[in-house]
């Protein structure tokens, strides 16, 4: 009744190809932006911002990066956290050692990660499917090993370096959670907009064509090698920026343990639960994986007196795993598809005939 397409006539191709062709969607999006830019920093606690929202944004960015590769271009990567690590360490060194400004060093970390990612994307020119997945898993271990053993980059065997004090444009200190929050939010919004434009344009269509039928894509004129490598570069760029943001604004230090293989698997889970090949799915999946464990934890915390803590920790994992299975059974194509189903129902509500 409230959500409808009626009397919404498109009189130009530009309006037909808009990201949100339905006005209510557009208003919903503006409302979300308002929430993110005004309500969250004003009315929520510092704990909530640093520990929930900032990692949520970072992982949404990283999940979108993986989604470009796995969801759009169909090249599975299960070593994606390693590229976050590359971005994190690269941006730390650019900022701390070479003295670049903050934002350029974060983006520079992304670029270096993209360069490394392109190199590790080379096997995709010859192999695909599970075989490619295994070769990307190798990238995880190779990159971890190199970072830990290359002391100039990581500062020692533990692979941890402390974040230096951060200044935006050289003089605005980034000391409070809210300032870090705005840095993350602005970068994420801009990069996500660019990403959305890429996947709805010709490059995105080429990627989807490669994913669906690669030989037909080649015969219609897609340069498979070039576009697969671009997918790797774009994907690892987003992962690199996300890794840099995690270290600068969330953890405050670059630590190789933040980017181990479990994180790679979690990111794979994010895009599958959220929805392969959708931008919305990257957000939903990241929200699911970042916020839900905290929510379950809080919920189980109330049983602290009755049940021993070690059993509670196990119950937490079981509940989380169970919820993943539940969502995949309810909607195998991810939560983004679930949202579309709801919108389709809303179109006819309350008179479904």
């Amino acid at each position: 009744m409230f959500y409808r397409e009626c009397s919404n006539f498109k009189d130009s191709y530009a309006s037909d190809m808009a990201i949100f062709p339905i006005p209510l969607d557009r208003w919903g999006f503006i409302f979300m932006l308002f929430m993110a830019f005004v309500v969250v920093p004003l009315f929520t606690s510092e704990y909530f911002i640093t520990n929930i929202i900032i990692p949520f944004y970072c992982f949404a960015l990283a999940a979108f990066g993986l989604n470009v590769l796995a969801g759009y271009a169909g090249q599975i990567s299960i070593g994606h956290a390693a590229f976050m690590a590359v971005g994190a360490y690269a941006s730390f060194n650019l900022y701390g050692r070479l003295g670049l400004p903050l934002v350029p060093s974060i983006l520079g970390g992304g670029l270096i990660s993209a360069a490394v990612g392109t190199i590790f994307g080379l096997p995709s020119l010859r192999i695909k499917g599970f075989y490619l997945a295994i070769s990307t898993l190798a990238s995880q271990f190779i990159i971890e090993w190199v970072i830990v053993h290359w002391k100039w980059v990581s500062g020692g065997v533990f692979g941890t370096i402390e974040a230096p004090k951060m200044f935006l444009f050289g003089f605005i200190p980034l000391d409070t959670a809210v300032k870090k929050y705005y840095l993350t939010l602005c970068l994420m919004t801009v990069l996500m907009t660019f990403g959305k434009n890429l996947v709805r344009g010709q490059l995105g269509r080429n990627w989807m064509a490669i994913r669906d039928v690669d030989f037909a894509a080649e015969i219609i004129g897609v340069n498979l090698y070039r576009d697969k490598l671009i997918a790797f570069a774009v994907s690892t760029f987003y992962a690199g920026v996300a890794g840099a943001l995690i270290c600068f604004t969330y953890v405050g230090a670059a630590n190789i343990e933040e980017f181990n293989v479990m994180v790679s698997f979690a990111m794979m889970g994010m895009i599958i639960v959220g929805g392969l090949g959708t931008v919305l799915g990257s957000f939903l999946g990241a929200g699911f994986f970042v916020m839900l464990p905290i929510g379950i934890n809080q919920f189980l915390g109330s049983f602290m007196d009755v049940v021993p803590a070690d059993i509670l920790a196990n119950i937490e994992s079981i509940l989380f795993g169970g919820l993943i299975v539940f969502f995949l059974i309810v909607e195998p194509y991810g939560m983004a598809r679930l949202w579309h189903t709801i919108k389709d129902k809303m179109r006819l509500w309350p008179f479904p005939y």
């Binding site: 344009g201 010709q202 490059l203 669906d212 219609i220 340069n223 671009i230």
Partner: protein, 261 residues
């Protein structure tokens, strides 16, 4: 009449074998600009193999392909050959199943779109203008094939006949100099066959495409084609106008077998 013209594509003495099987044995054929040519033959005669060689999907063992008077290098990749102006459809549909019908047909324009990645990321001026320009061209094809109502439908949910039509649309969108159709009417009922035959004829007459097609329905082939090449077990056994083929003894033998004594 055609014989005076320079052929658009000339395949000379093509040999190819897969393991021990000789799929094509010394086959030569020409495709002249503006015609509808059919390749026919019993199952396993090497018809699809011939198309695969023409658009570079397979590489011939011997022989050469001359397109627009220029010899084609054997190393040329299929996407470069597509850029020269050869498009095709597949016998077993090869639609991009995760995309809408519109997206599939837009894919046909991929070679004509040149906005770089940064321009596309900004979706500003050049990139947007280009997108709209090609969308217009695609809308013409959608009108031509009368599939306006399924524009936004995911390709995977379309019925078979419409999927075939979308695939034809994708090939047409590339505006090829040579259009290869691999059994465009396979598995269709009479009505759908007539529709597709109409589109093929219109594409040839109104839009001026040169078409080479493989088809098993002899009625359709005899009606719409200017020239026919007959393959049997990898050998070319006949070539000529529909009338000549109809009365060719070798062709009748290949299709119907030989009466004993």
């Amino acid at each position: 009449m055609n014989e005076k013209k320079e052929p658009l594509l000339r395949a000379e003495n093509i040999h190819i074998s897969f393991g021990g099987l000789k799929a094509l044995n010394d086959v030569s054929l020409e495709i002249y600009p503006g015609e509808i040519m059919a390749i026919i033959g019993p199952n396993g005669a090497g018809k699809t193999t011939m198309l695969n060689i023409i658009n570079g999907f397979y590489k011939q063992d011997e022989g050469r392909i001359i397109f627009e008077g220029k010899k084609r290098s054997k190393k040329m990749k299929p996407n470069r050959i597509a850029a020269q102006g050869i498009a095709r459809t597949f016998q077993n549909l090869a639609l991009f199943r995760g995309m809408s019908a519109l997206g599939n047909i837009m894919m046909g324009r991929t070679m004509k779109m040149h906005a770089n990645i940064f321009s596309q990321a900004l979706y500003w001026r050049f990139s947007q203008k280009e997108e709209i320009e090609h969308r217009k061209a695609v809308e013409h094809i959608i009108d031509f094939l009368q599939i306006q109502n399924i524009r936004r439908t995911p390709a995977s949910t379309l019925p078979y006949g419409l999927q075939k039509r979308v695939e034809l649309g994708r090939a047409l969108a590339a505006e090829p100099k040579l259009l290869l159709l691999d059994e465009p009417m396979a598995g269709m009922n009479l009505e759908e066959k007539e529709d597709i035959a109409r589109y093929v004829l219109d594409a040839n007459e109104e839009l001026g495409y040169t078409i080479a097609l493989i088809e098993h329905d002899m009625g359709v082939v005899m009606d719409i084609c200017d020239r026919i090449v007959v393959l049997d077990f990898g050998n070319k056994i006949a070539e000529g106008t529909p009338e000549e083929i109809k009365s060719n003894q070798k062709v009748i033998k290949a299709y119907l077998g030989e009466a004993e004594n």
